[in-house]
C-alpha cells in the first residue's frame, strides 16, 4: 500500500474512517491533495482537534510506519537527523587498538564513522524507510533555525552526512506538520506546505467520533456529553476542552456507571475535561444552567 493508491478524497475519508478517524470533506480533500501532490501538510488548530491523530490514522490506514518527531525549544539537527554512537565508537577504538596495535589511522577513522555507529533520528529514518508517514509535531515550539533546516529537507527529501554521503528518499515520505499556533511558522516553510486549519468538529461528527472511539459509551450519554462540551467551548474558558477531553469525559462517566448526565455526576468527573482551576470554578457554578439550556 502506498500513498499513490488513494483514488479520491472520498476514498481517503473512507480509509481513515475505518481506523476510527472521522474527517470532514475539507480535511479529506486537503489530505488527498497532500498525498497525490507529495506535499507536506501543515495542520494548525486548537489543541485537541485531532491534528496528531490524523497522522496516526494516515499511517494506519495506508499501512505505513509512523515516525514521529516531537519538537521543542532548542531542538537541533542532532536530535532530528542523526548522531554518532559515541560510547560504541570509543569501545570499538579501544578494541581495535588492543588487538592490532598501531593501524592505519585513516582506515580506522573510516571504520568509526560508518553505518554501524550511526544513530538515525526521526527525519533520517523517514527518508530511509520511506514510504512512511513523518509526523513533525508542534513545529511552533522549535526555533527559526530548525524550521530552516526542516525546509531544506522537505524541499529535496535528501540529507547529506559528511562522513557517509547523501541519503535520499526513493519515494518522498508523507509529511504531516502540526502547530498550535503559539508562534507563527515561517512563511517559507508554509509555502512548501499545504495548509489546513482544523476546527472543533460539529455536534453530529463529534458524537460519531465518541461512538466510534469509545463504543462502550451509550448513544444518549455520548450526545449529552458532546452537547455540554460544545457549550463549554463557547464559554470563553482559559483552555477549551478538545475532542480528546470529550472522549476522556465520556469514558470517565461511563466508568462510574452514569447512564444519563446530571449535575452531580458531571461535577464529579469535571476534571476529565476542564483542567484549569479558574475554569472549573466557573463551570461548576454554571453547570445546572448549561445542562438545562
Amino acid at each position: 500500500m502506498t500513498a499513490g493508491d488513494v483514488g479520491s478524497p472520498a476514498d481517503l475519508a473512507d480509509r481513515l474512517g475505518r481506523t476510527g478517524y472521522l474527517c470532514d470533506d475539507a480535511l479529506a480533500t486537503v489530505g488527498f491533495l497532500a498525498l497525490s501532490l507529495a506535499r507536506p501538510l501543515l495542520l494548525e488548530g486548537e489543541p485537541g482537534t485531532g491534528k496528531t491523530a490524523l497522522a496516526e490514522a494516515l499511517a494506519t490506514s495506508l499501512d505505513l510506519p509512523l515516525i514521529r518527531l516531537q519538537c521543542y525549544e532548542g531542538i537541533d539537527a542532532a536530535q532530528a537527523l542523526y548522531d554518532w554512537d559515541f560510547p560504541r565508537q570509543i569501545l570499538h577504538l579501544r578494541a581495535v587498538e588492543s588487538v592490532a596495535g598501531a593501524t592505519d589511522v585513516e582506515e580506522l577513522e573510516k571504520g568509526l564513522f560508518s553505518e554501524r555507529f550511526l544513530l538515525a533520528r526521526p527525519v533520517l529514518r523517514a527518508l530511509r524507510e520511506s514510504p512512511a508517514v513523518l509526523l513533525v509535531d508542534e513545529i511552533d515550539r522549535a526555533d527559526d533555525e530548525f524550521e530552516a533546516f526542516l525546509l531544506e529537507v522537505l524541499s529535496t527529501y535528501q540529507v547529506s552526512i559528511p562522513e557517509l554521503g547523501t541519503v535520499a528518499a526513493t519515494t518522498p515520505p508523507v509529511v504531516v506538520l502540526t502547530s498550535n499556533r503559539t508562534r507563527e511558522v515561517h512563511d517559507a516553510l508554509k509555502r512548501r506546505c499545504l495548509y489546513h486549519w482544523i476546527d472543533h468538529p460539529g455536534l453530529e461528527r463529534e458524537v460519531a467520533i465518541v461512538r466510534s472511539r469509545a463504543p462502550e459509551v451509550s448513544e444518549t450519554l455520548a450526545r449529552q456529553v458532546v452537547t455540554l462540551v460544545q457549550r463549554l467551548r463557547d464559554a470563553d474558558l482559559v483552555k477549551a476542552p478538545g475532542v480528546a477531553e470529550t472522549l476522556d469525559w465520556a469514558r470517565a462517566l461511563d466508568r462510574i456507571g452514569t447512564r444519563e448526565l446530571d449535575v452531580e455526576s458531571a461535577a464529579r468527573t469535571l476534571g476529565a475535561a476542564v483542567k484549569y482551576r479558574e475554569d472549573a470554578e466557573r463551570v461548576r457554578a454554571a453547570l445546572d444552567r448549561m445542562l438545562a439550556g
Binding site: 470533506d25 497525490s36 559515541f86 570509543i90 577504538l93 568509526l112 530548525f146 486549519w197
Partner: protein
C-alpha cells in the same frame, strides 16, 4: 484583470484570475503558490466546486485570518458566475480613513498632572529629575534631563544561538573527543566540551507620536536613540540590531535617523521623516501596517518588541487586539510601556489598552528617567 468572465474562458485563465483577485484582496499569493493551486485543482477536478474551494484554501491561505477574504473572493469569482453573470468587481478594500490632525479631545490632561509639584525645589535636582513625570517639566528642566540620558546603559537582550563553540564547560563534544582519541590511538584524552553561544536579539521600538503622547515624544526619542547607539557600538557597526518606528496615523521607520551620532541631529532628522507628529492615533491600523510591511517578513520575528504608547485608540480597538495577537506570535517578547501607568490609581481601562493587554508579556511604566531605566532592564532581560 477583474473583467467579466465569458463562458469560453479557459480553466487556467479562470483560476489564475482568481488568484489575482485574491492577491488584490490582500492575500500573499506568489507564482509558486498559484502553480500549486493549479496542480491541486487539476488533481481534484475543476468540476467539483467544493473540492476546488478546499484546494484553493489549502494552497493560497496561510493563516486563518485569510479565510474571510478568501471566502468573499471565492463566492464572487466562482459562484456568481453560475448564477448568471458575475456581479461587479471583487469586493474592494475598505477605504483608508485618515484621522483629523490635532489632539483636541485627547489632551484632557494626563493623570499625573498635579502630582509631585510640591517638590519643585532645587534640592538634589538630578535625583529629583529622574523621578519626575516628564510631562510636568518645563523646557529648562527638560533640557537638564536631556543631558542625563547619557547615563542610561542599555544592555541588548541575548538569545541562545544555534551554533556551538568549544568551551571549558558544557556538554561533551563527542565528535571532537573521538578525534582527539583517534589521534592518540585510543589513549584516553581530555574530554572536549562545547556550549551554545549567544547572539544579541533584535529590539524593535514602536513609539506612539500622536497628540496624547506629545509631551513624552522627545524623551522617548532620546531613549530610542540611546538604545540604538549602544547597540551599534557593541556590534562594531555590523548593521542595526535595533529598529525604531513611529506610530500615529501611519508608521514611519526611524532607524536611519536614529543612527546619527548626535542626538539632537537625530531627533531633527526623525522630525523631518515623520509626517504625522502629534496627529491622531490609529494604533491598530499602524500596527497592521508595520506587521504587513516589516514585521511578518522577519523584522519582528524572534525580536523583543517594545510599544511606547498610552493606549489611546481612535480607531477600532478590536483590530488593535487582533494585531497585538499577531505581533505576539511573531515576537519573542512584547513589552508595552505606558507613561500613565506610573500614576497612582491608574487602571488600564482605555479601549485600546484593554484590547492590547492580553497580548503583552510585560506592562511597565514609562513616565520618568527612573522608569526608563527599569524599561531598559526589562528589555535587557527579555
Amino acid at each position: 484583470m477583474n473583467g467579466v468572465m465569458s463562458a469560453a474562458t479557459a480553466p487556467d485563465e479562470l483560476l489564475l484570475g482568481f488568484t489575482r483577485a485574491l492577491q488584490s484582496a490582500g492575500l500573499p499569493v506568489t507564482s509558486d503558490r498559484s502553480r500549486t493551486f493549479l496542480r491541486a485543482v487539476a488533481t481534484v477536478g475543476l468540476g467539483d466546486r467544493r473540492a476546488t474551494y478546499w484546494a484553493g484554501r489549502a494552497t493560497l491561505c496561510t493563516t486563518p485570518e485569510h479565510f474571510a477574504a478568501y471566502d468573499r473572493v471565492f463566492t464572487g469569482w466562482f459562484l456568481d458566475e453560475t448564477e448568471g453573470g458575475r456581479a461587479g468587481p471583487p469586493p474592494a478594500l475598505p477605504p483608508v480613513v485618515q484621522a483629523p490632525l490635532g489632539a483636541d479631545d485627547e489632551s484632557s490632561g494626563s493623570p499625573g498632572d498635579d502630582e509631585g509639584e510640591v517638590v519643585r525645589v532645587a534640592a538634589s535636582d538630578v535625583e529629583l529629575l529622574q523621578h519626575r513625570d516628564i510631562a510636568t517639566m518645563d523646557p529648562a528642566e527638560r533640557a537638564r534631563l536631556a543631558a542625563l540620558f547619557g547615563r542610561l546603559a542599555p544592555t541588548p537582550p541575548r538569545r541562545v544561538s544555534y551554533r556551538r563553540a568549544a568551551a571549558r564547560r558544557g556538554v561533551v563534544d563527542t565528535h571532537a573527543t573521538l578525534r582527539r582519541t583517534l589521534d592518540r590511538m585510543g589513549e584516553p584524552v581530555e574530554i572536549a566540551r562545547r556550549h551554545r553561544t549567544t547572539r544579541t536579539r533584535r529590539v524593535v521600538l514602536l513609539v506612539d507620536v500622536s497628540g496624547s503622547m506629545s509631551s513624552y515624544a522627545d524623551a522617548l526619542l532620546r531613549l530610542a536613540h540611546r538604545v540604538s547607539q549602544r547597540s551599534a557600538a557593541s556590534r562594531g557597526g555590523r548593521g542595526p540590531r535595533v529598529e525604531v518606528f513611529s506610530m500615529g496615523t501611519r508608521v514611519t521607520r526611524l532607524t536611519r535617523a536614529m543612527r546619527l551620532r548626535d542626538v539632537d541631529k537625530a531627533i531633527v532628522a526623525a522630525g523631518e521623516t515623520v509626517p504625522d507628529w502629534s496627529g491622531g492615533t490609529r494604533l491598530g491600523e499602524a500596527l497592521k501596517a508595520f506587521l504587513d510591511r516589516w514585521g511578518q517578513r522577519g523584522l519582528a520575528r524572534g525580536a523583543v518588541v517594545v510599544v511606547f504608547s498610552d493606549g489611546w485608540e481612535r480607531g477600532d480597538a478590536v483590530l488593535l487586539g487582533e494585531q497585538m495577537a499577531r505581533l505576539r506570535r511573531l515576537a519573542h517578547r512584547v513589552v508595552w510601556v505606558n507613561p500613565h501607568k506610573g500614576a497612582a490609581g491608574y487602571q488600564p481601562v482605555q479601549q485600546g489598552m484593554a484590547a492590547a493587554l492580553p497580548h503583552v508579556d510585560e506592562f511597565v511604566a514609562g513616565h520618568s528617567l527612573a522608569a526608563f531605566r527599569k524599561v531598559l532592564r526589562v528589555i535587557g532581560d527579555a
